[in-house]
Symmetry: D4
Subunit: 236 residues, 8 copies
Amino acid sequence: MNSQELLKLLELVQAGKLEPADAIERLKYLPFEDLDFAKVDHHRALRQGFPEVIFGKGKTDILVTRADAKIFSAVKRAAGKISRLAKFHPLSGVITIERDAQIAGKGTILVVSAGTSDIPVAEEALLTARIMGNKAEHLYDVGVAGIHRLLENRSALAGARVIICVAGMEGALPSVVGGLVAVPVIAVPTSVGYGASFGGVAALLGMLNSCASNVAVVNIDNGFGAARVASCINRL
Amino acid sequence: MNSQELLKLLELVQAGKLEPADAIERLKYLPFEDLDFAKVDHHRALRQGFPEVIFGKGKTDILVTRADAKIFSAVKRAAGKISRLAKFHPLSGVITIERDAQIAGKGTILVVSAGTSDIPVAEEALLTARIMGNKAEHLYDVGVAGIHRLLENRSALAGARVIICVAGMEGALPSVVGGLVAVPVIAVPTSVGYGASFGGVAALLGMLNSCASNVAVVNIDNGFGAARVASCINRL
Amino acid sequence: MNSQELLKLLELVQAGKLEPADAIERLKYLPFEDLDFAKVDHHRALRQGFPEVIFGKGKTDILVTRADAKIFSAVKRAAGKISRLAKFHPLSGVITIERDAQIAGKGTILVVSAGTSDIPVAEEALLTARIMGNKAEHLYDVGVAGIHRLLENRSALAGARVIICVAGMEGALPSVVGGLVAVPVIAVPTSVGYGASFGGVAALLGMLNSCASNVAVVNIDNGFGAARVASCINRL
Amino acid sequence: MNSQELLKLLELVQAGKLEPADAIERLKYLPFEDLDFAKVDHHRALRQGFPEVIFGKGKTDILVTRADAKIFSAVKRAAGKISRLAKFHPLSGVITIERDAQIAGKGTILVVSAGTSDIPVAEEALLTARIMGNKAEHLYDVGVAGIHRLLENRSALAGARVIICVAGMEGALPSVVGGLVAVPVIAVPTSVGYGASFGGVAALLGMLNSCASNVAVVNIDNGFGAARVASCINRL
Amino acid sequence: MNSQELLKLLELVQAGKLEPADAIERLKYLPFEDLDFAKVDHHRALRQGFPEVIFGKGKTDILVTRADAKIFSAVKRAAGKISRLAKFHPLSGVITIERDAQIAGKGTILVVSAGTSDIPVAEEALLTARIMGNKAEHLYDVGVAGIHRLLENRSALAGARVIICVAGMEGALPSVVGGLVAVPVIAVPTSVGYGASFGGVAALLGMLNSCASNVAVVNIDNGFGAARVASCINRL
Amino acid sequence: MNSQELLKLLELVQAGKLEPADAIERLKYLPFEDLDFAKVDHHRALRQGFPEVIFGKGKTDILVTRADAKIFSAVKRAAGKISRLAKFHPLSGVITIERDAQIAGKGTILVVSAGTSDIPVAEEALLTARIMGNKAEHLYDVGVAGIHRLLENRSALAGARVIICVAGMEGALPSVVGGLVAVPVIAVPTSVGYGASFGGVAALLGMLNSCASNVAVVNIDNGFGAARVASCINRL
Amino acid sequence: MNSQELLKLLELVQAGKLEPADAIERLKYLPFEDLDFAKVDHHRALRQGFPEVIFGKGKTDILVTRADAKIFSAVKRAAGKISRLAKFHPLSGVITIERDAQIAGKGTILVVSAGTSDIPVAEEALLTARIMGNKAEHLYDVGVAGIHRLLENRSALAGARVIICVAGMEGALPSVVGGLVAVPVIAVPTSVGYGASFGGVAALLGMLNSCASNVAVVNIDNGFGAARVASCINRL
Amino acid sequence: MNSQELLKLLELVQAGKLEPADAIERLKYLPFEDLDFAKVDHHRALRQGFPEVIFGKGKTDILVTRADAKIFSAVKRAAGKISRLAKFHPLSGVITIERDAQIAGKGTILVVSAGTSDIPVAEEALLTARIMGNKAEHLYDVGVAGIHRLLENRSALAGARVIICVAGMEGALPSVVGGLVAVPVIAVPTSVGYGASFGGVAALLGMLNSCASNVAVVNIDNGFGAARVASCINRL
């Protein structure tokens, strides 16, 4: 499949002639077919970091995670008429094609993150939550070593129906946040750190052992999964 | 503190003369004070397995996790007038003192477990969910190697607002359950297994890598924590 | 050895003047000799990923695993008269030179895999099984989070004499498949995943702890080894 | 359930009034019910080492793994008329009740083990293979540091249809055995060793990385599982 | 050496006839000599948990870590005239013999701990700091999930010259404390926790990855070492 | 932000029109904004190795860690009038802009390192200690396998108020140094080594288990953190 | 086999009627036969700590490792006429029966150990070296945190033909010793330590990464193996 | 230092005007100085793989490990008059400058290796042994899965005074070799393998747990260290 074919595929979906579920089936095989851009990189990425194409609310929105500028321009060329809706979010490597602004979640999902380097994963969670039909806000750079920044934002915490906590290094943020609220906290360890952070293992273990008992954990760097769980909760 | 004092403490709580929050403060120091039963064992347990005293809905219910028959009889002796409400659940080592049958959760929490040996942790989750004011049901012994048993109970799965999935060994149950429902699934790995299960690590990793994205995970054998998260969700 | 010499070597084998066993001895030293293509990459690959040259049934078929397009074109140039038989399978990086279509295995080896990203390893197993003289079929993309896809293919499972199960992430597929059949299941964990998958360790542990007891396991990404074991079984 | 009830249960099975499958359902809950012998130990064992009750060929044979003398005498008392068939094998902690000597496997399963300390696991495999209806032989104490002992028994190796290789410490035996035969080799790492054997991990890794490619591996100390896989193969 | 000899030894030290350094040399061999109390336990403890005899300020104070009631009564019997100075601290298993109340440290060492179960290690640090000639205070049960308790004690934090932070589970306390002060923080992970705490590894990793950069770490449960480092600092 | 903007930013700081604290806030987001140099590399580095911008004594000095020549020339271009103060230290990848030579620490911080390959981390510690207002000296290449080199420098050790010990491989240096002095020793494991050094884990474990009890440890390769702790101590 | 039979066995060996090699074959099965002393403990020990019976120089000496007082008295009862030669070394749990004082090794094997707690393993090495026909000396309690103790014994180090270095915790001793001599150093990590020593793993890694290149390593606590290697070297 | 300076340095050594020990001091700093070739690569290599310059027998021979073609041509240019003695061994990345063919070792060091991919490490050991003044032979590609190849070379094994065993994957070779000889065996695990070989950890653990007790182990891929130990032994 080359970018011509990709274009056709998306046009068929737009025209209602191809079911999204069928389109995604073919798209999933894309790295292994004769695609004329970024092939090697994409292929490796697939085996390591799972660039994924996900259909959102009403199956008319599209989300591509772990993309880059190259993939974005190919997607844009291929998207044809709806290309103006495609938006690349470079912090998180996410591409969104949002055609349906309807909100299905009942409250606000708040994404809280510790350090600047955690923002890519936090953004992935934020954008995923939105594409899945939720009102989602963020509160960045409120790591526990500067506890006042978090405490100054207690009203934001209090206003959330579900909280996603993103943190690398020692992963202590969910414990503090969990102690300040009564709603469920979904913790996302990130691979930010070096040495004894072991690619996010330190943060993961910290979160699994959180002394706040309203905390549940997803895989390292899995902003998408955290948003999925939060969205399931927010629709209840 | 000896059992006389423990009795007095509980009576004060019952009479409304002592705030539960204050009682629990003192109870937490109990293993280090001069308690006349099971001292050494209790002390060791505290450092390894966290016997905990928790106050439930309306702060009039009490839950003790990781107890045994000895601790139960001491609690019973000490509980005085309310001793007939104290109930020991030997499968899970949980003691419940439930005085308030009011339900605060909006739907049903379903506890699903894989093998017979996972039942103690599942029971801890079940009883905790109930003491926290939820309607909670269970579905035991539906491991993935006999997939028909799980599929025969799809209506039970469909009726739940939150699902707690308890499994040791390969920890595959949440992936299958997560694929069958749209509600959040809280996964609890258990330390059941031997050899390369590494005390629950195999199950923990399996659950963190679940291909079902509506799954979030708590610590190994942490039935209590799973129920706490599920209860937070069920009150939304 | 340069590609000229490689050509000569293969011609000698074709002409029956060089025993395959002797040819393979020399080929194994190839990365360390003065080969004019892809030397550095090949050398590193050898130390990491074991590109291997294997002779199949009747010792007239050849299988090269972990190859790429560059290696393929060199092999093709070198293969001379039999170059039209050389076929590159880009999904798995396998090169096959099949001259003997005879089937030695008694039944069908079925290769089952979970996600799209597992296909490279699954294909390596499939092609290896065939080059070793077996009828081999495949059933792809039947991960446990969409259990109906697997259940819809129960007749394929029932028709197999040996099953190879390929899965990354939580590696749960062999447990479900093992519970549905009475034949031996050879499980292959893949390095597909990220974060707490630890390069396939999560899947490996999951498979070693499978609650289905007719499951045995090979190394991570070892599609070749799984096919070898399955082929030994299928010849019994 | 007390031992009286256990007796009744077995008599009902013997009389054909209770399906073995139903009996085993009840037996599985046994540690959690009111059983009057060895309760605490059994319970702990269950969570750590999986004493299991398994029905063999024709569902008239019974195998209990990870038992001890205490459990044996209770089983004997309970078994009533068939008590003379109950046999305790102290090396492996296995109890067998064999009423059907019919052989369902087509060839011989050979259990090979490295050191004396590996014999308990090897015996578990041997007895399980027999109770499942196979002709099973053994070749013990043929570790690779005394390679002549193994080589002197090449005819035994050559006569086997499936080989189970049991070894602790460096777990090298399956590599040597695998190189000497063309049949499938099921490798069982044992927890025999100390220090850097890490409870069988060294042997497990050695076997997963075997340079003999006809080797597949089961969990540490899982003699039962190896016999199950071997038996599935031997019935093909 | 029996308890008579131990008595004589201590008397010699008291009388100034034996240098403390010489006494400690002999005491170190004590578990291997013919001591008439608690021999086996002591011996095992030595290999696992390092009961140690340490001489404090002016070398006239004595500290025994990881002791128990049995060892205490033997020490008391042996201590003769100074036996009334011997004090057993059951929370931490520390025995102190303090004859010199002189303070050598310049400021206050503050020991802060997270949960009740961390108190034994915190006490070991506290008592060691004191026996080494420091003014030492404590602030217990100020875990990060109830952040207000810590913040209410900011003046205590502000008054310390060195802070020792003791925490198990996720080990987040030093990060919050480190952000609130400008003095050095010595972090002690404890083995408190279960499951994925891996005997204190989660807390250890959390502390090594602390986002507060004025934190340095000692071994798991090493209250003694933390006090030694803090004491070195406090004497500067 | 492009390099023009970076220039403006630094000029505003120089002119006293922008608080350093505000400047650093913006600089921290720099990798995610539209910066025209080394963007991809910088971004990756941020997630792996934490290039950091730190303000020193009096907040007029600047330290950039984990930089390279490219980043240095951009910083220089941007620094305008103060560019002559910017200095790149290639051994450690540190950029310093030092405008205030005032010494705030009371004594000397001595940085001791084992092998030549440990020098980059040692230099990072040395330069950080200086930029934070300390007199700092170094003693390199005094590994324990040539113990005389260390012993010949005992006077340098004796003259230090705090010692930073940097070592990879077996990380034994702090144990020997700690035994020779009475001041606090901050140990920094480095990722120098191969095979079973596991990226610095061997050195980290060695240091955490040091038999010298005046040793505390920071993260692998964390020269900056060690200097921060040492500087906190040196100001007491 | 009961102790009567054990007696007979040893008498047959003494009388020259049974080859030691044959005797050892039977002795190796001993824990699994009907032995009337310490059966359960011995059995468990065998699977964990390898009590072993080894024949020394001229095959007339006997060494039993990992024994205890119980096993010793049984051995003594059974040894009959040669019982006065049997000697129990409680520090190391070794039993020696030495009938041949002949020295086969060419030089002195020196066993050096770090802390008091390492002595049991050091003694096992020392006694094994002697029973294998070597002159063997020891140098205990010369840990690297008190480097002067080691340096004061340089003549002892200089006089050795092979050195065995035994150390727990950070395992730094072989690096220092290796730098002081030109002969081979066999390093034995011990399981002495706690927390992040991980049962000897810290010492093991330290020794494998030794910056002294004349160091080779054996398994944790393997004093016997170190002596075997040293003895092989000393006979050259 | 540029290549001109490197040339001068070597000429000074050749002329006897600079002690080799002094030259090596300066050479060790080389990657950090202004060297005009392969700087970045060399630098990285130093931190990961330790290219080392070693002086051999009589200090007139030179050995450079972990080099490549680029480094070799620079060394050659710089070596001036003795450049014809410089030899690059591409299999192992070793450069030798041998001027003294004198043999100091008493017997033959035999280097035995398992698979083709292990040859680079084996060659490093072989060349190091020779440059250190030993007669050294090799026996390659004698892995345990083809045990006859090893057994056919028993005379070579019997003729060696010391054996170096190099193997990756399961690392079983030293166990078999150790059982066939009475001389010391130095085992070198290699990082050859994939998946569960964990970069040589599987082989390392296998060798540490070898059931042959005349085996001692060095670090993963440490051919140089094995040769150093073997050379120390061979000079005794």
